[in-house]
Amino acid sequence: MLDRHTAPAINTDFKFSLIHPDVVKHHEIPIYYIGNHSPELVRIELIFNAGSIYQTQPLIASTTNDMLGEGTSKYTSAQLSEKLDYFGAYVTKDISHDHAAVSLFTVTRYLNQVLPLFREYLMDSIFPEHELQINLTNRKETLLHNLKKVEYVCRNGFAKLIYGEHPYGQSARPEDFENVTSDDLQAFYRHYYLSGPSVIMVAGNTSSEVRNQIESSLHDWLQPQTKSAAPPLLPYTPQQTEIEFQNAIQSAIRIGTPTISHTHPDYPILSLGNMILGGYFGSRLMKNIREEKGYTYGIGSGINSNQLSGTFLISTEAGTEYLYMLKDEVYKEIKRMLDEPVTADELNIVKNFISGNFLKSVDGFFAQSDRIKTLVLNQLPFNYYDNYLHIIKTATSQQIQACMQQYLPLNQLSEYVVKGVNS
């Protein structure tokens, strides 16, 4: 008779191997190669120190990034996208507070045809006025759309509460779209893009042929930029704010505080505490507030790690009728993390969960490239993840409690509530 009560034996000695990437320096710009000769795809990702912290006016960093390739001195926007699309290539652009990224994704067999076009994107964008106006009009509409979501309004309000007038606290307003000019973008582009990326990640097919094509296409790039200084953070004072939001049946809540980031030695333990509190489906917040009370579809906590600071935050959306009961439960759960050591069972589950899922986060060349990129951008050593997982594996309940007390004391938490009101 099959015993269905007893779980099958498990192996928790999860082994992972992060590829040690080949690094080539080209005009001082490091190119990391993560892959081999077998995939038929290659992804080339360029990271620039061109995030929104470097802008002097709202929307300049994001618009410059979004407008790359929308017209070059050789091709119109339509011509360039027609050519790239024809070869089945995808270009994606991404902007954060700290960095801007531009990635090319193509089958290897067309790399030769696609690279010169990608080069146009990167080195010869001219930001035509009529393209800019279309871009601004459409993105303003998208912003107006987002501003009708309690979650979006809460996210922005919370960032402002935590970081105030620092760029980390800023988000675009509809009227900001009126003040962006092509000249602003060109100036930003010259300064933060044309001086070269800070790093290039190549993942997938990294055969010598692919390498030669990439390096010869980008060979005449200028010296890498000297990194501009990011404006320093402002002093933080915890605050509570509640605003009303008309015609909404749910409310959005964020609770959190500035905290340490990736590079801090206590980060692994803090991330373990975060996991137990609200970092995964089996967390205390999910169990209590979704699975026992049914107040919400989902609730979670996390640590956003930026260059200058990390942000710890709890976020959820819930029917307004549950709002205050839900908040009480959240604070109860935070307090419990501070007042009592986590149980051995909880700790054991989370340790296995983190290390098992780490395997997934380094599965395949693209995933490995993403992990290595994090290390490179944070100037962390290649054995960082070995140490990280070792710290996780040997962590104790007492360490976690002490860490939570140090970094998440109740009197340092801010709270932003967007209360849905249905009149």
Binding site: F14, N138, H145, K149, E292, Y297, N348, F353
Partner: protein, 413 residues
Amino acid sequence: MITFSEHTLENGLRIIIHEDHSTPLAALNLLYDVGARDEHPEQTGFAHLFEHLMFEGSANIPHYDTPLQLAGGNNNAFTSNDITNYYLTLPAANIETGFWLESDRMLQLAFSQEKLDIQKKVVSEEFKQRYLNQPYGDLWLLIRPLIYDQHPYRWATIGKDLSHIENATLNQVESFFYAHYAPNNAILVVSGHVHTPEIIQLSEKWFGPIPQRQIKKRNLPIEPRQKQEKRLSVEREVPADLLLMAFHMPHRTHPDYYAYDLLSDIMSNGKSSLLYQRLVKENNLFSEINAYVLGSIDPGLFMISGRMNKNHSLEKGEQAVWQILNEIKQNGLTEQALQKVKNRFETAEQFSLMNILNKAMKLAFAAHMGNVGLVNTEPSMYHAVSANDIQRVACEAFCSDNSTILEYKAINH
């Protein structure tokens, strides 16, 4: 190319195994052939509510998630109009944990009034969060009953109405389980760093003892051919007008499906696509516009959805879309335009083969369509589509009599 082997247990469970030893992980995907189309019209949202209950413990295992997390795994599920699909990934050495968990909840769930009550609340919050408390969130709730008169695709997976979820009883939920959850109504796919004989043996061990269940033969109403245009206009608190157009098209396994799918790519996949270039870039009528197909098991839909820019009316936007549709019908398209979407398809296809969970799902969906081999033969079917095929399907679909139009208007204060 995905290599696979197929097996069937005595109780009817179909098993597909794909070995990929480039990863230390394994994925397990369990597809149940039950979706929102199988619901009673007065008990809509049940398949999805049921998906929630599947995580609330089974006969011998009080918590589904905990043992999986202990084994270093991760999981989720989704419900569509056609299927309910459960999946997990974990370090390959622990694959048996997946078998243990999935087989126990197929065997018997641990129902209770309390668990049902909580999940009813959770699903109600999901309903509000995703459909009622988002700008344009109720689009599908509005348009489905308009498009379909007879077929159960006329309601969304979340359900027609919150009250259907709120009124669900334990009895109804229990009988839904025994009517649809059974080895002979499921497809199991295992992929990754696994060995086929071992997976067959684990399947026999954990799923083999589960008895077959009586599955009622599906007998869904056939949607009669639409005879005239349908149109609905609503006003909501949204920042801009939105145009939604739906056209009936063939089902997922129809030979013309591939032409329809490529047609939607020609219209809106990538910056050089037709609708984007003409209506967003050239005249900026729309701030965004998309075309896509819903490849469902019963006849599906070709959708066009666009958000208008401030200074332009919905009427003008719709006219401009029709003009482009008519141009495709009359002039067809160039070889270059067709080759372009085929090339883009190839890149996306290559990318989708890089992940074991993706591959497991592809295998399960193909098996559900009736032929696992489709995972490898479909790319050549896309490749074989001609410009004539595309013009022909455009002529079939893009007629006013075959259209349902939703005018979603911003309230003018």
